[in-house]
């Protein structure tokens, strides 16, 4: 047997075993081996990413074309807000995403707890967050 063949084979077996061992088996099993709701359900980036993704996909159907929308977290966090705004640009392509801090949007998507006071009329509430139409 050639070293040129056997050594890389051993190396590849070690790496493949490590790859299998790194799989999120607990997460997959707790989901009942079903496909996840979002591509980020078991992400190392944190639960925010999956929650934000899921809520924004659900919000898409509720928002009229061209509506101005801001996306924020509850409790407020400027860094997370900034990331979720970017998710909004991607996942709500027909909406006009405006910064939560500076604009007065027609709709507000809140990732996290229900905001108090309520920013307007509640359109959708899920464990991941809520969607609101602002009062004029």
């Amino acid at each position: 047997m050639s070293h040129r063949a056997s050594i890389p084979l051993v190396g590849s077996a070690i790496l493949a075993a490590c790859a299998v061992a790194s799989l999120p088996f607990t997460r997959i099993a707790s989901n009942g081996w079903r496909l996840p709701r979002t591509p980020f359900d078991a992400s190392a980036s944190g639960n925010d990413v999956a929650s934000g993704y899921f809520l924004l996909r659900r919000a898409e159907a509720l928002l009229p074309r061209g509506a101005s929308v801001s996306i924020r977290t509850e409790p407020p966090d400027p860094t997370r807000n900034a990331y979720l705004q970017r998710f909004g640009v991607a996942l709500l392509p027909d909406a006009r995403i405006v910064p939560a801090e500076t604009a007065a949007p027609e709709f507000v998507v809140v990732v996290g707890a229900r905001p108090d006071p309520a920013p307007g009329e509640l359109l959708l509430e899920l464990p991941e967050g809520s969607v609101w139409r602002r009062r004029p």
């Binding site: 050639s2 063949a5 190396g11 493949a16 790859a19 790194s22 997959i28 392509p93």
Partner: protein, 446 residues
């Protein structure tokens, strides 16, 4: 995943069509069918992206038949260049039985691909960059039927990096046009899908290397696949540009290591693959420049460097210049000036950069995706062939460029390194695996 997602993924198979006129040429007849199909897909992807950039530059709106038809025509137009210089390719497959080692290597590679598939399907390997910029740009371009300069010029979208090379957004836009929408989950699944394509096609291409018996070629391929799978899972590359870049880089180096590269056909094919690399990600450029510089030196006894340079450097140069011309025409960007001032080095950050790089790689599977292939390389270091210079100098060139880039920013780059280093250093394990394959055998396979 819904129908749109399946159509989105399946439409990427059409990219093999523009590459087919090239790979169907008898010059590549000795490459096993799976390897030729993989090369056709990669070459076709590069030609298709170039066509889309050229359309955008000339103001021609994209359509799936228009883009693919033009790219296929381009493939046919390039066919005569395969024969320039004449002669059959000096390629023969090294004889040897497909023994238990080759079978085991195929099995290990399959396990690595399945692990990557499970991780991606579970939502554990998706890249946030897909949602931050690759995906939204592609989605917008698909709606606009071109590279939408007005969209990219929006100051609120500066984080989308307008100057980033266009291949991934072009091809995602084409798939979105075919499917009728951007399919986010399907895009993440390109990671295991491209890994599987490499796993199936690469061993056959590596068998064209001089003296590479089936077992050695299959093992080297498995090592590269397993390393790329593990890095990709740990560094979350699903849906971003890493995997397409790695496919182009892997295939370009594999072809350049093969006797295929001694004839014009192989050189032009390598050039097209390098064109794919330079238009996939910024760091594809230093990779290609190093490979293009090293190849004529490594093969100086067998080739005429001037004509080789034209075939190797021509396609990447034309592809990138078309993109830069688009940036100039639309006043969006000038070359890679968006990367910041060049040569504004901050050597005082060297210690912090080195620590951050070591820490980032250590946090990615305990650095095993780099250490294991490097150990495999060291094990055969005394018997490496002259050809090993190509992957090893390319690895050194890429590493030097990345170090330079990290030192070329005014602030502390530790945070940036933490999330980028595992991804941008991911070609190194593949290069170590291919370099090890150039080692001379002490005893025959068997």
């Amino acid at each position: 995943m819904r129908t749109a997602g399946l159509v989105w993924l399946a439409s990427t198979l059409l990219l093999a069509l523009p590459g087919a006129p090239l790979l169907a040429h008898r010059a590549f007849g000795r490459i096993p069918a799976a390897g030729r199909a993989l090369l056709a897909g990669a070459a076709g992807a590069a030609l298709t992206s170039f066509t889309m950039t050229a359309f955008a530059l000339c103001g021609v709106p994209w359509s799936v038949p228009g883009v693919l038809g033009t790219a296929i025509l381009l493939g046919f137009l390039l066919r005569p260049a395969l024969r320039a210089g004449g002669g059959d390719l000096p390629v023969s497959l090294t004889p040897g039985p497909r023994n238990r080692i080759a079978a085991a290597a195929g099995f290990v590679a399959a396990i690595a691909v399945v692990a990557a598939l499970l991780a991606t399907a579970a939502g554990a390997a998706s890249s946030p960059d897909l949602v931050f910029f690759w995906g939204p740009k592609a989605q917008r371009f698909a709606l606009a039927r071109t590279v939408d300069a007005v969209y990219l010029a929006d100051p609120a979208l500066r984080y989308m990096h307008a100057y980033y090379p266009p291949l991934v957004t072009n091809l995602y836009a084409l798939a979105s046009m075919a499917a009728g929408r951007m399919a986010w989950t399907a895009a993440t699944l390109l990671f295991p899908a491209l890994l599987a394509a490499l796993g199936i096609g690469l061993p056959g291409i590596l068998r064209t290397l001089a003296g590479a018996r089936p077992a050695a070629a299959a093992s080297a391929s498995a090592l590269a696949i397993a390393a790329l799978a593990y890095v990709g899972m740990e560094a979350d590359v699903g849906g971003n540009a890493e995997m397409p870049l790695l496919v182009f880089e892997t295939l370009a180096i594999a072809v350049l290591l093969s006797p295929l590269s001694l004839a014009p056909a192989g050189q032009l094919l390598s050039g097209i693959l390098l064109a794919g690399a330079v238009t996939a990600k910024v760091e594809g450029l230093p990779f290609a420049l190093t490979a293009i510089a090293v190849f004529p030196w490594a093969r100086r006894r067998e080739i005429r460097p001037a004509s080789v340079l034209l075939r190797l450097a021509g396609p990447p140069a034309v592809s990138l210049l078309a993109w830069f011309a688009f940036g100039e025409k639309t006043h969006l960007f000038r070359g890679y000036s968006g990367e910041g001032p060049l040569l504004a080095l901050h050597p005082e950050h060297l210690g912090a950069v080195a620590r951050a790089m070591a820490s980032a790689l250590a946090a990615t599977g305990h650095a095993l995706p780099w250490l294991v292939p490097f150990a495999c390389l060291l094990a055969v270091a005394g018997r490496l062939g002259r050809d090993a210079a190509l992957p090893l100098v390319t690895a050194a060139g890429l590493a030097a460029f990345l170090l330079f880039t990290y030192l070329d920013r005014p602030g502390d780059p530790s945070q940036w390194i933490a999330w980028s280093a595992p991804r941008v250093f991911s070609p190194l394990p593949m290069l170590f695996a291919l370099a090890a394959l150039t080692a001379r055998d002490r005893v025959s396979d068997g």
